[in-house]
Symmetry: C2
């Protein structure tokens, strides 16, 4: 088990990474001296796979557990589901000393985190992510949200978890496409934050694709450390934390234009990285070969870097609705070389369109 | 104009107290270097009285203002109104650099604050309270909330304002009953936090009831300072901040039992103070005469200390649903003397019932 601390003063917490982390939830919560009531929030498919490990551990530590079942996937992230979740918390008698355990992928973590952030003005939440995407990214840093009919993640709150349990054995049950999608965030961390980590991923592609336990633990913990270091320096995404949006500015726009159906999130991020690497090259910001190296690793893990070339003008239009826009200007995170980044405002639209054309 | 700082590190802000504070909103927001889009959230009656001062000031500083109209009073604090407010923010193109100005009483501040806290995971809010209750209490400290059918203020967030503008000239337009209701919080601050302030209020009852401008400014600023000192030491109500709930534990229960219709909030708090002072006396915690002095001042400003004696068992039952309960135990803030407090768990039900009988 690897223990990654997130240092945020009074809101500090630990990320425990490794096979069997889920079975530690009862003992770890007892150490935090929280109240005895716990709501386990998850969906039916995840509960069937991993629910027993969590409920057994909580029961052994004498917690009172109520299970709250969510619809699967993004359908969990609505105001209606949030309202019924609050209702269930009230039925279960949750008070400010109670804890929500979010067991699942990013959607479960987002909804359960938002419900916990707003119930009685905030109760504790434990993130127990079961997808690679959620383990290396969504579960860390306190971002929670629900969707609005007109914009994903529009309504939300920053609400740091009390604890993150990233059980890497849950990754063995992921469908191949979902697993590879999570690797896009792993690669993103390397590109903008740490050249040595990027090289480790390059060297470990085979072991990663085989999901070898030691490789999973090392790579997940490495991403957690990188993300934690960013969150520690910019908890509420005022400046530095934008770095984590590398590949996401174009990626989100591609997802919006394709109705969030055609590409998995990580696939859209992979396309976004390919496009944003192209922007950096066209602006003369990136050295020659930097884009090629990123694209090579994305392709090596089976992520798309082409096949989204249509309607670049729609993608550009979707960019204007980006949550990171400030009075209409969208900042781009660009990588001048592997392991470095720069925040660039006012990228010319023509440059964006050219870079999108490479995705055709 | 009196300037009261609230020191909360990166979340610090100023409270400007005095006649004409509303007209400073444009210049003050410009100093904060926020984006140019502003949503002015208020209700029709308040806008008619005070809207022009705010919009003129914002326009003079070149802000783009969209007005969002709420239903009057507690009817503003629903999930439906929050959803339509988010919708209006989106229509107006608000982004993370934009600001919400909450102009009105506690309900407007709660709803607008909650909408701002959750839109794009939190945008800036300026609290511009126009009732005495909101100026001395609700606008400071970042508590925001909406109601749930089964519990008031159940859903909410801590979200500190960027600035508070307490224009004491707005108090001249308040109906008498609403104005006197606000004095309950003023008296509460004195009882548990500051004997000298309590004496100042005792001596100034005549000027306060006449709403003399200098008295209003001094008393409002004094309460702001006291509340700020508590919020600075306990931002998220983990322990010390409970002191501000003096009179509110019983007061909230009386409001719940009477369907939030019979008593104004301050009237229920006044009854709560009378009852909780009785509890302190019965527990041998308060010196003789401490309750009588509190009751005397409440009566001097025209607040009720009797007339809520029915169904004490219902009041006790309502206590068990208090948001401050921890695994079923409700903490009481009690005043051993004027200017001091103690947090007491496990007050015997018989003692509570006896103290409630005094309200008959």
């Amino acid at each position: 088990m690897i223990d990654v601390p997130v240092n945020l003063g009074a809101r500090s917490y630990r990320i425990l990474v490794g096979a069997g982390a889920l079975a530690m939830v009862g003992a770890e919560l007892a150490r935090l001296k929280v109240g005895r009531r716990v709501a386990l929030v998850s969906d039916a498919a995840i509960l069937a796979l991993h629910g027993a490990a969590v409920t057994r551990s909580l029961a052994a530590a004498s917690f009172d557990v109520t299970t709250v079942l969510l619809p699967e996937g993004e359908r969990a992230k609505t105001l209606e589901v949030a309202a019924s979740t609050w209702e269930r918390f009230l039925d279960a008698g949750l008070d400010r000393s109670s804890t929500v355990v979010a067991l699942g992928g990013g959607a479960v973590g987002d909804l359960a985190g938002f419900a916990a952030a707003t119930y009685m003005r905030g109760i504790g939440v434990v993130q127990a992510p079961t997808t690679l995407l959620a383990q290396v990214d969504a579960s860390i840093g306190g971002k929670t949200a629900i969707d609005h009919a007109r914009a994903k993640n529009l309504i939300g709150a920053f609400h740091q978890p009390r604890l993150v349990l990233s059980d890497t054995s849950t990754l063995l049950t992921l469908p191949e496409r979902e697993y590879r999608s999570g690797l896009a965030e792993v690669i993103k961390h390397g590109i903008v934050l740490d050249a040595a980590y990027f090289e480790d991923v390059e060297r470990g592609v085979g072991a990663l694709l085989e999901r070898e336990p030691a490789a999973l633990e090392r790579i997940v913990a490495g991403s957690c450390r990188l993300k934690a270091s960013v969150v520690e320096r910019d908890e509420q995404e005022s400046e530095l934390r934008h770095v984590l949006n590398y590949g996401h500015t174009i990626g989100h726009a591609i997802e919006a234009v394709t109705g969030y159906r055609r590409f998995a999130h990580g696939e859209a991020v992979s396309l976004g990285i390919a496009a944003e690497a192209g922007i950096a090259e066209r602006l003369g910001l990136a050295k020659p070969g930097v884009r090629a190296r990123q694209v090579r690793l994305l392709e090596a893990v089976g992520l798309p870097v082409r096949g989204a070339g249509e309607a670049p003008s729609l993608v550009v239009e979707a960019l204007s609705r980006d949550k990171k826009a400030r009075d209409g200007r969208v900042p781009f995170v660009l990588a001048p070389e592997i392991g470095a980044f720069r925040l660039v405002f006012d990228v010319p639209t023509a440059t964006i369109l050219d870079a999108l054309a490479d995705l055709a």
